[in-house]
């Protein structure tokens, strides 16, 4: 029997319907597999990061706890602990510690931490990943017993609240990211403060005022789009030349009376980062402004509104959610940017917090880069932990962007 639609299939040189469906399915499978590849690589990335943020470590002490006291240290009272501390550090160091915070004001845990840091001086000689400790426990135990028969093997959580609140240190056990985290946040504030108003202003001009028929405006627009693709290192070099060198008098803060600094400050880095994101910001904001329906503008003009009233009351409120989404996505790219910061002169080792726009600085990506280049295994653990913190900051920013956008869209 001929199929009922044989007249549609007609002469034999047309593809059969089953063949066309097969082709469609093949494409669909291709798309699904690309999604699977993407998701898989993301999972592997996250796993390998989280895997290193906790695990088993082998610790060796410079001074064994058993040499300090017959009882376990935890069982001693505060006065005894202070006594131990006094016996085992130099008199000058003891005085300095007392001056920072008097021992009478410190808690017992705090003094225990001090003893650990100043007297015991533990160092991580070997670090095993979480997955190794779980799935290859026997192998790990055998390895540790063979290579470090005297040392202690214990579980250690690298990601912990103190990690956020400690300055950098040459000992991974006591290292934290506070100066870098604050530096990154400071940097982003300056970047937004610089790039957001300028980016929106330029986008408004290009979309609402500039005459597209003038060749000059078209050249500018094409070039802004090209600038968005310039490698970030080039912006770093530009920032070095302009903000660090040429405008060093301003960016070092010497014009407000801060002496002895140079242009390698947070301000220089923030402005450089601002330049870097500016083209992307402009392109994003223009897209958002262009998406505002023309009928809205006509309605406004038809009531006798001026151009600025139309922009301020109708175009910007309609575009703002798109502009903000674009901005936050741009900012989250900037927060992970490393190359321009190295060129502009981020400090690789900094134990003091940034205090203002004219202070020296470091940033999370710099710190991560620095830590990954160290030979000791444990630095890789804290680098992974810092990466996790960076990812959490990014996710928070993106979540904030989504919330903000939904809020503004639902306003009416």
């Amino acid at each position: 029997m001929k199929p009922f639609n044989s007249w549609m299939i007609g002469n034999g040189n047309q593809e059969s319907l089953a063949g066309r469906h097969r082709k469609g399915k093949a494409w669909r499978n291709l798309f699904v597999s690309s999604l699977v590849i993407g998701v898989l690589s993301l999972v592997v990335l996250l796993f390998s990061i989280v895997d290193q943020t906790m695990g088993w470590i082998v610790v060796e002490y410079k001074n064994q706890p058993s040499e300090l006291s017959l009882q376990p240290l935890e069982a001693l009272n505060q006065d005894e602990l202070v006594g131990i501390l006094q016996d085992n550090v130099t008199a000058r160091r003891f005085k300095a510690l007392n001056q920072a915070i008097p021992f009478t004001d410190r808690s017992t845990e705090d003094i225990l931490d001090l003893i650990t840091e100043e007297v015991l001086q533990p160092s991580v000689v070997m670090s095993y990943r979480l997955s190794m400790g779980i799935f290859n426990r026997e192998e790990m135990l055998a390895d540790a017993a063979e290579r470090y028969p005297d040392a202690e093997l214990k579980f250690h959580l690298w990601i912990k609240p103190e990690f956020l609140n400690r300055p950098m240190s040459s000992n991974p056990l006591f290292a934290g990211i506070r100066p870098a985290l604050l530096g990154s946040l400071f940097l982003i504030l300056i970047t937004i403060g610089f790039a957001f108003p300028i980016g929106i202003g330029a986008a408004i001009y290009l979309e609402e005022y500039a005459d597209q028929r003038v060749w000059f405006n078209r050249v500018i627009q094409a070039n802004i789009e090209n600038l968005a693709g310039v490698p970030s290192i080039v912006y770093g070099i530009l920032g070095l030349a302009i903000f660090v060198r040429a405008l060093g008098g301003i960016t070092s803060g010497s014009f407000v009376g801060i002496e002895g600094g140079n242009g390698r400050t947070i301000l220089s880095a923030g402005l450089t980062m601002g330049l870097l994101v500016l083209p992307v910001m402009i392109v994003n904001a223009r897209e958002a402004i262009r998406a505002v329906p023309q009928s809205l503008r006509l309605a406004s003009y038809g009531l006798g509104a001026t151009r600025w009233q139309t922009i301020w009351h109708h175009v910007l409120p309609s575009a703002i959610s798109g502009i903000l989404t674009g901005t936050i996505l741009t900012i989250s790219r900037a927060i992970g940017e490393t190359a321009p910061l190295i060129v502009v002169g981020a400090a690789t080792y900094l134990t003091s917090d940034p205090t203002g726009p004219f202070s020296k600085f470091t940033a999370l990506p710099i710190l991560i880069y620095n830590w990954t280049t160290r030979p000791q295994e444990a630095f890789r653990n804290i680098a992974a932990t810092a990466i996790l913190v960076l990812l959490i900051v990014l996710l928070t920013l993106n979540a904030a962007a989504i919330l903000l956008r939904n809020r503004l869209q639902n306003r009416i």
Binding site: D211, P293, G302, L303, Q309, S318
Partner: protein, 260 residues
């Protein structure tokens, strides 16, 4: 601007309009009667919408357009160099083809135009008055703070009319205001136009000949010149005369459906 000897609402003299180098409309001479409804009809592409947008300088917003000739409003050419188009658009309001309320509350839609034009009186009264004039008050009086986008198409279009009325214009231009509406909403708008014509001059572009015949006092028939594709005014007169006894063969062909 107030000169009493000009009794017409708008006087169009020798008006040509260009998009770039293309002449879209040529040699229009037209006197719009005050407080009447004037319909502009004609086949697609004859420049009806272009002509109506010339009456409140809406075409200024399109780059590369140019107008020669004069459009007199109270005896003054609205295209004179010292005239601000923003002022003209307040006095000559416009309702568009597709309802385009602002994405704000119903109240704000009406109040906004008055506010930006410096209205200092009682805004609540103005909103109620404008919505009542647009025959929408009874339907929305309990939901003034709701989004205007939640209204039906016909209600939205009446809201757009109320919005235009709130800035106290003298003339209301309507560019195919019913083309996106169903027949019942269309009839409501037509009734409304009739009521508004007591106080306002209304000019309406329509592609619907029945609508022009039903709702207007005067009709202008435009067509496209076959040689240079420019729109031109063929015949202008009382609606009754245009539809029952057209003087021009082209008008007769169009209204009897032989063409267009």
């Amino acid at each position: 601007m107030m000169e009493r000897e000009h009794t017409m609402a708008l006087e169009v003299r020798e008006m040509d309009f260009y998009y770039g180098s293309f002449r879209a409309v040529k040699n229009v001479n037209l006197d719009i009667e005050p407080r009447k409804i004037t319909a502009i009809i004609g086949p697609s592409g004859c420049g009806k919408s272009t002509v109506i947008r010339c009456f409140n300088r809406m075409n200024d917003l399109i780059p590369g357009t140019r107008l020669t000739g004069e459009v007199l409003f109270h005896g003054q050419n609205i295209y004179a160099t010292d005239v601000d188009p923003v002022q003209i658009r307040r006095l000559i309001g416009m309702v568009f083809q597709k309802p385009n309320p602002f994405p704000k509350s119903i109240y704000e839609n009406v109040a906004w135009g008055a506010r930006i034009n410096g209205f200092t009186g009682n805004m609540d009264d103005l909103v109620e008055e404008s919505l009542s004039q647009a025959a929408l008050w009874d339907e929305v009086k309990d939901s003034l703070s709701k989004s205007a986008l939640a209204l039906s198409g016909g209600q939205q279009q009446r809201l757009c009319i109320a919005r235009a009325l709130a800035v106290k214009p003298e003339i209301i231009l309507m560019d195919e205001p019913c083309s996106a509406l169903d027949p019942i909403a269309t009839l409501k708008i037509e009734d409304l136009m009739r009521e508004l014509s007591v106080h306002y001059t209304i000019i309406i572009v329509t592609h619907n000949m029945q609508q022009a015949a039903r709702a207007s006092d005067y009709t202008a028939f435009f067509t496209m010149d076959t040689t240079d594709r420019a729109g031109l005014l063929v015949e202008y007169g009382e609606t009754n005369q245009i539809f029952t006894n057209p003087k021009d063969q082209r008008t007769e062909d169009y209204i009897t459906g032989r063409f267009g």
